[in-house]
Amino acid sequence: MDAEKALEPGAPLLYEEWGDNLIYHGDAKFGDVEGAFARADLVVEGTLVSNRHSPTPMEPRAITAHYDPVKGMFTIWVTTQFPHVFKTYISQVLKFPEDKIRVIAKRVGGGYGPKSHVYPDDVAVLQLALKLKRPVKWVETRTENLQVTGHARDWKIYYRGAFSRDGKVLAVSIKGIADFGVYGPFWTEIQPALVAQAQAPGPYKMQGYEFDLYCVTTNKAPYAAHRGFGRPTGSLVMERIMDGAARRLGLDPVEIRRRNLIGPNEMPYRQVTNIVYDSGDYPKALETALRSFDYQGWRRKQEELRRQGRYVGIGVSTYVEYSAPSSKRLSEGLGWKVGGYDMVRLRVEPTGKVKFFTGQSTQGMSHETIFAQIVAEELQVHVDDVTVVEGDTEDTPYSYGAWASRATVVVGGAAVKASRMIRDKMIKIAAFNLGVEPSDVDVARGWFYVKFDPLKRMPFSEVARIAYQEVHRIPMDLEPGLEVVTTYEPQVYTTASTAWHFVVVEVDPETGKVDILKYYVLEDAGISVNPMTMHGQTHGAVAHEIGGVMYEELRYDENGNLLNSTFVDYLVPTALEVPNIEVEHIETPSPQLGGWKGMGEGGSIGAPPALFGAIEDALSPLGVKLDRAPLNPENILRAIRASGAS
């Protein structure tokens, strides 16, 4: 039940044929690590234990399957984040022809990662349906959900950071032991652990970086994708190192971070891990955040409150969230049979109404709104005239689905590309009918017009009608109709969002209870399509990890029994625990189409280190050091006792 013990010689073996309990062991070294540690004025060392928890979407998993022997069609309604991938995978597993499978995933009640898998129980339902030739339905209970779906973040980490006297980080060394439980369902495998290791260096320049990673099998539930996908763990370690170094060097935690940031003129930046960040202005983001949050004001207030005997602390964190990975990273770099592109279909109907088809599925990310906005902007039609169709493999193009904060970047880019293809064709048709050259025509607010004589114009809907119904009014070299299918993939290695989180907490050292007094996030995810839905995702992602790092912990006894498998004892934060989260956004555009960067998972990356820092800062008069999540009263009181203060 303990991943570290499972590595010891003579430990009982879970899969005897393996000879050990290791799913994966890998290490990598970038730059001059030994030299940096030899030259260092300060070496920060420590351990960190992060708690197994699960994102628990409010709708548990559900699947209904129906095999129609007459048509030979196998129709599956399932709560999945990737209907097309689901179809491909089960076709291989069941040896059932893929073209006879239809997967429908409309309006799924929350995803956050665990629904980008295919689970053995899904396959069992499908086999039953094929065997019985009757519809079969299975709905996961909450208990089943907590037992097997979405476990993640279960790590023990040993870290070292080399610093110069002036607070520059020279190198970082991480040994991570990740408890993966039994070997996991398709298709996450050990990727979150690799992502965690790639994530750590974040926005900081360093000469050397190394990791040593052990992914261990134990008698726990399988590891799953979980909002942030390893990034929260990687950034938590890095930010703990920064906080530790700041304390030892007597620097403000903001100042030490400021001194190590990659500069805006260094973009695109090849991080020590060889991951290339496309764009970003980390110092500008920091200075904006400091002003808006009123950092100096809060430090003064903290001093005042401390004099009154109150334990108030301020935490800060930052990270780079590399999102929407390219084919270069996925299929070439990682060897996955996965593309970094997505495919869309766009149709302007004879009435001028627009339909946009994507193979994505939505679990609440406002796809219907933002894709419609993007298409409406490009075609200059009203957003209500654009309908987004998704979540059914039968009427949408192939898609790799919703993960890695990729939908806006990749599908949004494809939407721009498809819209421009249709727009160019419509401009040609309009020019033909207006008796001018296509280069003389533009479109604005539902009208195609002649640039030098804007009163010469045709309604958008009229051009659409002609394209279908009056072929003689279409230039000879064009086909009738207005429908395109196209793919798009960002030309950058990955789009890199960033954020700064600032949080103020008050801790009761008698009970270990923590109150969040203020939570502020400055986010830069490039161009914002819709600030309201964007901020909404940040609120949710922050709340997720307020729960994850303070309340939620899946605990096992020594015999492998999960001790908390209901919401009675697995504590999801309510409206009383989550504060009002203030979000501000600045825009450093990505150099690719649309200028967007992924952001749906970012809040979950920033929250854990900010809360660690804030609670430790609140208890700093007692000399408390925190190295174990969750930061619940039990662990906080244990840390206070360990400091010898009470």
Partner: protein, 167 residues
């Protein structure tokens, strides 16, 4: 030993969203299951099995209840209001409008319960403080919104309803 059969079923009458319905259900049938599976009111959702998530919240005789914690037979003779009952004559309830305008839902799974808890709160306290709103929806879990915009929406709806009363 008695057989399990029709004689074991209980006859239940409930008024849902203004209309009376009758059904024969097993004694162990939960109100949520009767609403969803027998009467077809699929607005209220099931998100847990212990009465903690609140997705199944409905109004029963003027009070909010978690319909997974009520047996259908206990509801016999009751007046029930589900989320489907909020809309009147094709017009959304001010709470629904406020949820839309303030982006108070993302996946929408918890929303029917949030709306009914908010409806109950505003029926008792038309002008709640932020703290009172947070207490009012404490029994409704949400994993998408961090509650930020739900709280905002309930505040906005209270204002909207107060303005409507004034005019």
């Amino acid at each position: 030993m008695s057989e399990i059969g029709a004689q074991e079923l209980m006859h239940v009458r409930v008024k849902v969203n203004g209309q009376w319905y009758e059904a024969d259900v097993e004694p162990r049938t939960l109100l949520i299951d009767m609403l969803r599976d027998v009467l077809g009111f699929t607005g209220p959702h099931i998100g847990c099995d212990t009465g903690h998530c609140g997705a199944c919240t409905v109004i029963m005789n003027g009070r909010s209840v978690k319909s997974c914690m009520v047996l259908a037979v206990q509801a016999d003779g009751s007046e029930i209001m589900t989320v489907e009952g909020l809309e009147k004559d094709g017009k959304l309830h001010p709470l629904q409008e406020a949820f839309w305008e303030n982006h108070a839902l993302q996946c929408g799974y918890c929303t029917p319960g949030q709306l009914m808890s908010a409806y109950f709160l505003l029926s008792r306290n038309p002008n709640p403080s932020e703290e009172e709103i947070r207490k009012g929806i404490e029994g409704n879990l949400c994993r998408c919104t961090g509650y930020v915009n739900i709280v905002k929406a309930i505040k906005a709806a209270a204002q909207k309803m107060a303005d409507a009363k004034m005019s």
